[in-house]
């Protein structure tokens, strides 16, 4: 059959585009099908009010794999950064802010003890994050039934941990599965510092600072920074969509075709192998392989169907924990807001509002029981400070991650959205008096809205909680961690796979390698 060489990629999220680019460069006929009208998935820039554009889901770049960026020549495809190496400002209600550049305090007051501990803590966590970063571009080892290659892969992982040295290894093993609350409590005194560092560990997760695995999520977040300068917090010019546009250009340059506005209704089968896809309009497209950038549950239970899989596997896929708790707030502002006593030079940095760890844990508690946090924690960027393409002259856009909002709130209808918007504006007003009066338009995306707009089951950034039981060779589920699914010719390439979410691209590249390796073996 002539279409056997064709690879269809379902979804033009950043991982789908990375996968498309690598497969196209390897000479495959690649067709990317995207349901929405623009490429990028959760790394997109879109208008939310007339003249105001914003990174609609992910709003900071810090994990994009440096090798992928280089190999695909993203800068030659137009990717520029409006600002690199953003500082983090721990915003204090009383104006006693802390400005952090990694492990260094750039401005603000900290006791000497905390200042020293901060440098030590940052270095220690980076060392551990590097172990994770080393795994990003590797296929996770199989747990059972593997040959020499699997044993070797598992040994490499062990070796990476062992190379930390005895004391660090012991420390790594001690904290890898525990919670960030305890780790920060034993390292620091200043509540504001602990709050800001704690927020890093739980952003985008369904974890509170006292939940176990919250150290692992921190290390995952830091694993980009661990790569070096490329992993610093940065704002792409034109928003996160610029990364996707550059990836799409790289894929097209390699020969891939990208069709937007065509949603895949189902993955079709010929016997026990995939034969292509059927679009929502009924159009049938055939292909030898189908690679899905959609989340595991949507791909396997929605597009493919449980009946084409085995009972135990379906059971595991159904129980992937993938309910998100992060909401996204977008404000169109008439002018740059002023945070109490924050010098204007810092307004364009990454601003975090998490006064202390108990505040953060309380915010989580409400969401755990189905309510929006009455006092949410915020991660704020005002990208228009650096990037004039996003707002009309003199005006600004504010983009904030709001923690926490339940995926399935107790209350129905528009109530929870209105309530959380009000609460978030309340928190903002306390720290930046007068900001409310600057708001021209607003948009709040709850996890359920994120599920709808970005087609991510559960609305979770990572397509599934990052936790030890859903990590590496257990991601998305045991028995499917090597990108190839149990149905012949079907692959996953999204954040639901190793190494997980964040705009990274590694899952897409690893999946492309898996497709090519399978073809070679056949």
């Amino acid at each position: 059959m002539t279409d056997q060489n064709r690879v269809i990629i379902v979804g033009a999220g950043h991982n789908g585009l990375v996968c498309a680019a690598y497969l196209a460069r390897a000479g495959r006929e690649v067709l990317v099908l995207e349901a929405s009208n623009r490429v990028g998935g959760a790394a997109v820039t879109r208008e939310f009010a007339p003249g105001f554009r914003v990174s609609a889901c992910a709003h900071l770049s810090y994990l994009l794999d440096a090798a992928i960026s280089r190999e695909l020549g993203l800068s030659s495809h137009g990717l520029k950064h409006a600002r690199e190496n953003l500082r983090t400002v721990a915003v204090a209600g009383n104006g006693d802010h802390l400005v952090l550049d990694g492990g260094r305090l750039e401005a603000g007051r900290l006791p000497d003890k905390d200042r020293a501990a901060l440098a030590e803590y940052h270095a220690r966590m980076l060392r551990f994050a590097r172990v994770l970063a080393q795994q990003h571009n590797r296929r996770p080892p199989r747990i059972a039934g593997g040959g020499r290659r699997e044993v070797l892969a598992a040994a490499m992982l062990g070796l990476d941990v062992r190379r930390l040295g005895r004391n660090s290894m012991r420390e790594f093993l001690r904290i890898a599965a525990i919670n960030i609350f305890d780790v920060l409590e034993e390292s620091f005194e200043t509540p504001l510092l602990k709050g800001a560092l704690g927020l890093d560990a739980v952003l985008g997760t369904s974890l509170g600072p006292r939940s176990n695995n919250s150290v692992l999520t921190l290390l995952h977040r830091m694993s980009g920074t661990a790569q070096g300068p490329a992993g610093r917090l940065s704002l792409p010019e034109g928003g996160m969509g610029a990364i996707s546009e550059a990836l799409a250009a790289a894929a097209r340059a390699g020969g891939a075709r990208i069709r937007t506005g065509c949603a895949v209704a189902r993955i079709t089968l010929d016997g026990a192998r995939v034969s292509g896809v059927e679009l929502e309009g009924g159009e049938m497209l055939s292909a030898g392989s189908v690679v899905s950038n959609a989340d595991p549950a949507r791909t396997l239970l929605g597009l493919l169907g449980a009946r084409h899989l085995e009972t135990g596997f379906v059971h595991r896929v159904r129980h992937i924990r993938s309910k998100g708790m992060a909401a996204k707030l977008h404000l169109a502002l008439d002018a740059l807001p002023e945070f109490t006593q924050l010098p204007a030079q810092f307004a364009g940095e990454r601003l975090v509002i998490a006064p202390d760890l108990v505040y953060l844990e309380h915010a989580f508690d409400h969401a755990k029981y189905g309510h929006c946090s009455p006092e949410p924690a915020l991660e704020i960027t005002i990208p228009s400070v650096h990037d004039r393409t996003l707002a009309p002259a003199g005006k600004h856009v504010l983009s904030a991650v709001v923690q926490y909002a339940p995926f399935d709130p107790r209350a129905s209808g528009d109530g929870p959205r209105r309530e959380l918007l009000e609460r978030a504006l309340g928190v903002l007003e306390r720290h930046a008096p007068g900001i409310r009066r600057l708001v021209v338009a607003s948009e709040l995306l709850l996890p359920a809205d994120i599920e709808r707009e970005f087609r991510i089951t559960g609305g979770h950034w990572h397509h599934g909680e990052l936790a030890l039981d859903q990590f590496m060779m257990l991601r998305p589920v045991p028995g499917a961690a090597q990108y190839a699914m149990p149905v012949g010719g079907l692959y996953l390439c999204g954040a639901g796979c190793h190494p997980g979410g964040g705009v990274m691209g590694s899952a897409g590249r690893n999946a492309a390698k898996a497709v090519l390796a399978t073809e070679r073996a056949a």
Binding site: L269, A272, E310, T311, R318
Partner: protein
């Protein structure tokens, strides 16, 4: 005790071990008063004499209370696709009015249980299993438009097995029953209700299984024993049935294989190939639980082989190790009995591949006790192909009168 009281309320919680609807009759006939617990029903080991009960199976007919066997009613538009994904064989070939023996596996191709699928009416199935399966069936139902009801309590069932079984059914009014082929189902009006008869059983003989509303259970029992008296009808307990099923070469979950969902150790489970049930596996179906693992096993080869052994001497080789030329343990006997019909000492054994080929020199290590003194004997074993006892009357249609 009935599972429901006169008001239709469930009463099952009042007792840990229940009695079947036939209990008033089985209890009266159980002169040995020997019972055991089978899936939370009290069940007779034997009624009056195990050997005579067995003799009735092979020479007249015997009645076994089958009610405790786990039963599920599977209906809905996706009943067939559901079963075809669950079960290793092609269920679409079991036509309405037919029964099929089957096994089902986990994702690793290891057998969870064996049982029978009854295709009662188009798209309407009964699945009988040895073990409780509602959890696995419900879990497997995700993505299918199917209804699964465990109705063990709601159906009274008897096995009527033996050469005169057909004659007894004719005598109670099952007209034309002799034309029912093996694995066929027929329905007859009975006492204002309906009696379902399937030509199935666990004895490898001419025999039937009878399915009826529990309220008619005692009427059925009474008319069977009334009309069956002249045909030598007897009640039988599990001991007699056990001898018959081993003679027929039938396996039993928990005895000849460990249900995969109960296993903790990886090497304790068995695939259908390893249980000599390759005929029940249709790898041509695009998907069913265990298919990928079974394809891989087919390429790689199996670890075990289930064999039938004819053991020298007359001491049943229960739980015996099987040796290769008296040196290495190469297998284990899972079931063993003296077979009165085959007049031989028979056993089912799970052998490590490649052992168990016809002609292999194998030895069973049998321990036995005489007046409190244990002795050990090494008995030579011969691998037998096919059942130990397989009378032509088992399949003859029309069924003969004896």
């Amino acid at each position: 005790m009935s599972i429901r009281d006169a008001m239709g309320r469930k009463e099952h919680f009042r007792k840990a071990v229940w009695e079947t609807p036939f209990h008033p009759r089985t209890a009266a006939l159980n002169t040995l008063n020997e019972w055991h617990r089978w899936k939370d029903y009290t069940t007779a080991d034997a009624y009056f004499d195990q050997a005579l009960e067995y003799a009735a199976i092979r020479n007249a007919c015997a009645v076994f209370d089958l009610t405790p066997m786990t039963k599920h009613r599977i209906t809905g538009p996706d009943a067939l696709p559901f079963l075809n994904r669950l079960i290793t064989r092609d269920v679409s070939r079991i036509k309405p009015g037919k029964v099929g023996y089957c096994v089902w596996c986990d994702d690793n191709g290891q057998v969870i249980d064996d049982g029978t699928v009854f295709h009662l009416h188009a798209g309407d199935y009964r699945l009988c299993s040895q073990e409780r399966q509602l959890d696995w069936l419900s879990r497997s139902a995700f993505g299918f438009n199917v209804s699964i009801v465990e109705d063990t309590h709601d159906i009274a069932a008897l096995a009527l097995q033996g050469p005169t079984s057909c004659a007894v059914l004719k005598a109670i009014g099952c007209n034309g029953i002799e034309r029912l082929a093996p694995f066929g189902i027929a329905w007859f009006p009975f006492a204002g209700g309906e009696l379902m008869v399937s030509r199935t059983g666990y004895t490898g003989d001419l025999g039937y299984e009878l399915w009826i509303d529990p309220v008619l259970a005692l009427s059925l029992w009474d008319v069977l024993f009334d009309q069956g008296a002249q045909h030598g009808i007897r009640p039988m307990g599990t001991h007699a049935l056990e001898v018959a099923r081993i003679e027929a070469g039938f396996i039993q979950a928990g005895v000849d294989f460990l249900p995969a969902d109960q296993a903790i150790r990886l090497d304790r489970t068995r695939s259908p190939f390893e249980l000599d049930l390759a005929r029940l596996v249709d790898l041509g179906k695009p998907n069913f639980n265990g298919r990928r693992a079974l394809l891989a096993e087919q390429r790689r080869g199996s670890r075990y082989r289930l064999v039938r052994l004819d053991v020298e001497g007359n001491k049943p080789a229960r739980s015996a190790y099987v040796y290769d030329r008296k040196r290495n343990v190469v297998g284990t006997v899972t079931s063993a009995e003296w077979s009165p019909s085959a007049k031989s000492n028979i056993a089912l054994a799970s052998m490590q591949v490649p052992w168990g080929r016809p002609g292999d020199e194998l030895w069973a290590e049998i321990y036995y006790q005489r007046e409190l003194k244990w002795s050990r004997v090494m008995a030579r074993c011969r691998v037998v192909e096919g059942p130990f006892f397989d009378p032509p009357r088992r399949r003859a249609t029309p069924a003969a009168d004896f």
